[in-house]
């Protein structure tokens, strides 16, 4: 039985807490938050203890693993404290405010020999898992390009949330949201070697953070990724398309307000009618549960988890390269020997 403490009791904590209790191999024993009352409310719901600050969470001997779902600027100190005390860590994305912070976390975990997983839950959506499998099985042949349009419409008052506070987050909507699409591209295809991007703040009063980011990424072998990450997508949208020499894959929806999650596979054929096979994933979003299950398995098997510390670092490297490109108006080259 893996004993777990969760640091942070906001929206993400409410998603991650219940699945820890649901999985038979794990038990949530402690929830901590900046304010005890908030921790207590969630702890009562999940039937565990509550405390304030993260000292207890990282120091108690009966705790094996720590889940970090604080705002981003607290990831580094919380993760380092947990790792120094020999705890395995599942840390919400982005791993840190910038690449340096993420590298510190990743290196500390490696040195301490603990498991570090970055919360790229999209990898655990069934449609995206299916897409990855189809690519791996060669169903679409050599990949040529991918396109992702990913956006939400924000909500009234968004500009007053911590997500819109540049002191707490390391970037705008691209870092908050678009980073998932970048992580998926790295998972499906590999690392980009060239990055170009534009960002703007076109609607929400959240400058200097962006509410829209557009990027074109290219790998050494000429695979191109077109990404638009938007906080002005009034009707929520998740669409990920991957085209190869032999066929194409489209994943749409993530359940909930994004619509039913669907994965389609079609084949290149110049004369036959257009046809594809589509799988629809009914029911609730189970990515949080699947992600947690994979983390626990990695701990039990003492292996690298899916979306490990390096993935957390590299996705951030791409995000910040897009920011740098947008700032300087130039293509940013990423070295290949990482």
């Amino acid at each position: 039985m893996l004993k777990v403490a969760m640091i942070g009791a906001n929206l993400q904590g409410r998603r991650r807490g219940p699945v820890i209790q649901e999985l038979p191999e794990s038990e949530l024993v402690l929830v901590t938050a900046g304010h005890l009352e908030r921790a207590q409310v969630l702890a009562d719901e999940l039937q565990c203890e509550a405390s304030t600050g993260w000292d207890e969470a990282v120091q108690r001997d009966d705790i094996d693993a720590v889940v970090i779902c604080t705002p981003t600027h607290l990831h580094l100190p919380a993760a380092l404290a947990a790792i120094e005390n020999g705890k395995h860590v599942l840390c919400e994305k982005p791993l840190g405010l910038d690449v340096e912070e993420a590298e510190k976390i990743e290196q500390a975990a490696r040195a301490a020999g603990v498991i570090l997983k970055c919360g790229f839950n999209h990898r655990h959506h069934p449609g995206l898992q299916q897409a990855h499998q189809w690519i791996k099985d060669g169903e679409i042949g050599e990949v040529m390009f991918a396109r992702c349009r990913y956006g939400i419409g924000g909500r009234p008052g968004y500009e007053n949330e911590w997500r819109a506070d540049p002191k707490i987050v390391g970037g705008g909507h691209l870092l908050e949201h678009g980073i998932h699409a970048i992580d998926l591209f790295r998972w499906f295809v590999g690392d980009p070697s060239q990055v170009f991007g534009y960002t703007n703040t076109s609607f929400w009063d959240m400058e200097p953070l962006e509410d829209n980011a557009f990027a074109l990424l290219r790998t050494q072998t000429g695979v191109v990724f077109s990404l638009h990450s938007s906080l002005t997508q009034w009707t929520n949208l998740f669409s990920y398309e991957i085209y190869g020499h032999e066929g194409y894959i489209q994943v749409e929806g993530l359940g909930g307000s994004y619509g039913v999650e669907k994965a389609s596979l079609g084949k290149r054929d110049f004369t036959a009618p257009f046809s594809d096979q589509t799988i629809q994933y009914r029911g609730a979003d189970r990515s949080w549960y699947e992600e947690w299950r994979e983390f626990v398995a990695a701990v039990q098997e003492n292996r690298e988890p899916l979306a490990n510390g390096v993935d957390g670092v590299e996705a951030l490297r791409v995000v910040h390269a897009i920011y740098e490109s947008a700032q300087d108006g130039k293509v940013v080259l990423l070295s290949q020997d990482q």
């Binding site: 534009y198 557009f214 290219r218 257009f274 130039k330």
Partner: protein
């Protein structure tokens, strides 16, 4: 109106039919292939020739429709304008910026009309989207996205479209011309572009089968497109997001699926902002486009998609090619 058709290929036939339906007279057809010219001319009881010069000099011709590959546009269009003919020229207006500028200048210095064949502007779904935008229904336009492509056909690699000396480039100048024209039509002018072109599948180098573009306006609004000859299932998707709502257009008829335009408000509660119109069976724009041209001549006004629009689209395409080559964004003057 008496019309001369230069270029009796597939496009010439399409145009001829639209002219005929509009009760204008096709009086002259030319093609470097004498048989092709004759085949089309016979249908409409027109004269035919292998020399386009005969058409542009014929006093019995009021307007000329140029449906040749882009290689011949500059010479033919310029000459037709100088001979006082109104011209409807297929897109792209020319293979490159220099040729497009020559055409533009010839059009400015002659008192005739020049329309560039950006027929997408005449699709009813796109027209409806434009009308909503003009009426301010979705507020300030924040951005546009377009994904457009076709899977090619077997032997695509041997068509004239893939020879840059004839066409000016690959998929970027082919379907990409329509996309940048629509972006300009909806959003206005762009001041910087970044492009990536790739030859991912077809054996057509140095011409590209895929092109990605990001276009920036002086107020830092960004629009994004991808055009592809490896879009195994044909696709046309145009999305416009404004401060009060969004519009999407899907399909342009035929193998691209029926045209549908959807209007959605920013707030779910704003239910009268949600509309969906499907234009069944409409897949052609040639008649609407011809009639707009013919009305422009009658009313002595600029046609929709005029010489300036043709030139500016080529300018953007040219900048996107240069950007791809240099690997850096290009400022538009």
């Amino acid at each position: 109106m008496k019309v001369g058709i230069i270029g009796a290929g597939r496009q010439g036939w399409r145009r001829a039919q639209a002219i005929d339906v509009s009760r204008d007279d096709i009086t002259f057809v030319s093609d470097i292939d004498a048989q092709a010219a004759e085949n089309l001319a016979v249908v409409y009881r027109a004269n035919h020739t292998v020399n386009w010069q005969d058409v542009v000099r014929d006093s019995n011709v009021d307007s000329v429709i140029v449906c040749t590959p882009p290689l011949f546009h500059a010479e033919i269009v310029t000459s037709a304008l100088e001979n006082g003919k109104h011209v409807l020229c297929e897109k792209p207006l020319a293979r490159n910026l220099k040729e497009a500028q020559d055409i533009f200048h010839a059009s400015v210095s002659n008192a005739v009309k020049l329309k560039c064949g950006f027929n997408y502007r005449h699709f009813p779904a796109i027209k409806q989207a434009k009308q909503w935008c003009d009426q301010g229904v979705i507020g300030d336009l924040l951005l546009m996205r377009c994904r457009h492509g076709i899977g090619g056909r077997q032997d695509y690699d041997s068509e004239w479209r893939v020879q840059s000396s004839v066409s000016g480039g690959g998929e970027l100048i082919d379907q990409g011309s329509h996309v940048v024209d629509l972006f300009r039509w909806f959003m206005g002018e762009f001041s910087e572009v970044f492009g990536i072109t790739e030859t991912s599948y077809w054996d057509i180098e140095p011409v590209e089968d895929n092109a990605f573009g990001l276009l920036r306006q002086p107020n830092n609004r960004i629009s994004s497109f991808h055009v592809s000859w490896t879009q195994w299932k044909n696709l046309f998707s145009l999305e416009i997001i404004g401060s009060k709502g969004s519009i999407s257009v899907d399909g342009i008829g035929g193998s691209y699926g029926s045209q549908e335009v959807v209007l959605a408000g920013r707030n779910d509660a704003d239910s009268d902002m949600n509309k969906r119109i499907e234009f069944r069976g409409v897949s052609e724009t040639w008649i609407a486009e011809w009639q707009e041209f013919s009305d422009a001549i009658k009313d002595n006004r600029e046609p929709m998609a005029n010489a300036k629009d043709g030139l500016e689209a080529v300018r953007l395409i040219d900048a996107l090619y240069r950007s791809s080559e240099l690997g850096q964004p290009i400022t538009i003057n």
